[in-house]
Symmetry: D3
């Protein structure tokens, strides 16, 4: 009996696997749709270039393989995170170095960074798992979660 | 096109924003519906006056504004938390100083404190966001979440 | 009016109560369904005996009792956790000392440990609460959640 | 050769062993030497009854036993901490329930609590170790260390 | 007997008080004494503009006042930290916005930031305490301490 | 003027640099100098094979280079930690896989692991820095520091 056969039985538990990755980036909050004064009023001290040790929690959902006991090989998840988060944003200026933000003039709020990470990871995941959520800690006190919902 | 217009389009991502606030309060667990002996049996060492560094995670849910990239101005959320949590409970005795508990003879369990915070914050939130959950850490080991559900 | 009467009214808030417990165990990842080489390829360095400070977050869901203000007496939850986690796995070799894994040849991945804890705790809970989730931190970076779902 | 013999040789490494213990207490800052107004000015919001999840780090210093590899049996250290911290201050009102503070009219600042813990533990330690420091976290942001120094 | 009198007696305990403050800054590592290639080799990915959630632990040392039980009014320490750390570096680009680094062409390594904080705080402290150490967490894994020593 | 020249001037600040590394190992406490019963009494539940997520804080002390602003290139420190901690102990059974413990019949207490890390790192450090301390967290509650002292 193959792993696939056993996975398709009705008794495989579903587990949510979270991999946590920290990265250090510079950014500023400044909207091209707003004038200087409104940017200052809207973003306050975040209108200046500053930076964070961001912490991203990437959570995927899938069935536990009956043979290996894994939902997903963490190394695969790690490679995807390395490509989409570390190589793209770590020790970079998000507004200047990440094409998604720079070319689309998207403000690098934590909300938009979480959405960006979702999009970048979702298209690279193996089919056996689905993306559940991206949780982004901007600081110890401000945390943002995107679950792929739109209105 | 105004921000409101763009928000009403079908492509705005929904993000959950959490603001974390610590506060230090004294309390004791003692029910006016129970006699002294039953209070002692029910609450154990928590029947004596003691205290905690509570940590509250206030999570709201809303669409990301297409102009500002914000779900909500954290400063507004902070003001609401300051009024409902900090001014009301921080460095206070919850049983004696918070009218909700004192006047209604509600036992200041973490469960009831989470419900209290929910009620106090829900009525002050701007209409653009909805309250998702109150997560209250009483200690590093005991955590309580209220999501506005009733039975 | 008894506590039961008041609990059955429509106004009791539902709160999720989490108790967090750390434990230290040794294990290795090795599947009896795989040959030596495939085990090495599948599990990498985790194919050797090593160990972790696991951290389990046990979350139950229930109505807040109108008299006591409790969803559940934490001492009862603690006793269940002590029996199912601490006495069974703490300072043990999971593969050799825990019958569930040893006798059923189940690989001690974090996924399967989370499922095991769910099963062991679910059958011992008082009827007033239901099990919501088991969150298992294998390390600071790898976290696994089981919510009782199967596919 | 006995353990004592080997310990007295010149090659035993000296290790500092820290045991960390949390406790929950209520207190207020109010000095019997100051009038009401000065107390209010001196202690601000801490002049009201409130509480904390304190965290104490008790560090002892001693030679590593050549046979057991221990500086001290942690269970002995734990018993001393249980007696001096947990039974005395946990889930208590420090100002009213701890004789050292109540009877001597000592203000329960974190400084004085650290000194109290030092005195209580120092006189109970086995002779093979010496007390190195008491580190008391009042909150995540305020930390106090006493090393037995006086001026 | 005045507070000063009592402080000068031989029985006042000495306590180390630490205040912890987080701040978010952008910076890059680039030395004006090195050419472009050597800067790249020396600083690697830190040669690009990025940022951190720094965490500074400011520790002062002083006698516990016999009347108030304080080594120092934390509010005073807080004001000094606010002026020297928060207003100067938080949500700023250290290399461009902090005169100490910009005007003296000092590379904004964590080592030099710790030295800068020491110098800025030392000259503002009240005479009753002395500066013991500045501990700067650049990330969760890299920590730097300056104790005022020079060689 | 070379970097070496400037380092030898009297104005270079001395900074303590800490690199923190986690590792996962299995072990048991069992002394070849003790019989089975005494081992059981001495080590309790630690006499069985179990494991930990250890966390090591390696602190070195050195002058800040006037050109680079570094005490030491963290990459060099990392390589040494990788060789002495990660390759030697991570995902290993310390008692069986680490020659220092296996061949010398040294009990793998946290005290002895800290001493082992000290010895392994001290002989590999560049001459510009000296080893200050090894801090080993066995769990969140038990921490051990070795500073190279012997009695």
């Amino acid at each position: 009996m193959s792993s696939t056969d056993r996975q398709s039985s009705a008794v495989n538990p579903v587990v949510y696997v979270t991999r946590i990755q920290s990265f250090c980036s510079a950014h500023r909050l400044n909207s091209g749709s707003l004038d200087v004064q409104t940017n200052g009023q809207t973003y306050g001290k975040c209108n200046a270039v500053h930076g964070h040790n961001y912490k991203a929690e990437v959570t995927v959902r899938g069935a536990v393989d009956a043979i290996t006991g894994f939902v997903v090989d963490i190394a695969i998840l790690n490679d995807i995170i390395d490509e989409t988060i570390m190589k793209t944003m770590d020790h970079k200026n998000i507004d200047e170095d990440v094409p998604y933000f720079r070319d689309n003039h998207i403000v690098s709020t934590a909300e938009n960074i979480a959405v960006y990470i979702w999009k970048a990871i979702a298209e690279r995941l193996p089919k056996s798992v689905s993306l559940d959520s991206i949780k982004l800690h901007e600081t110890d006190k401000n945390v943002f979660v995107f679950r792929g919902e739109f209105v």
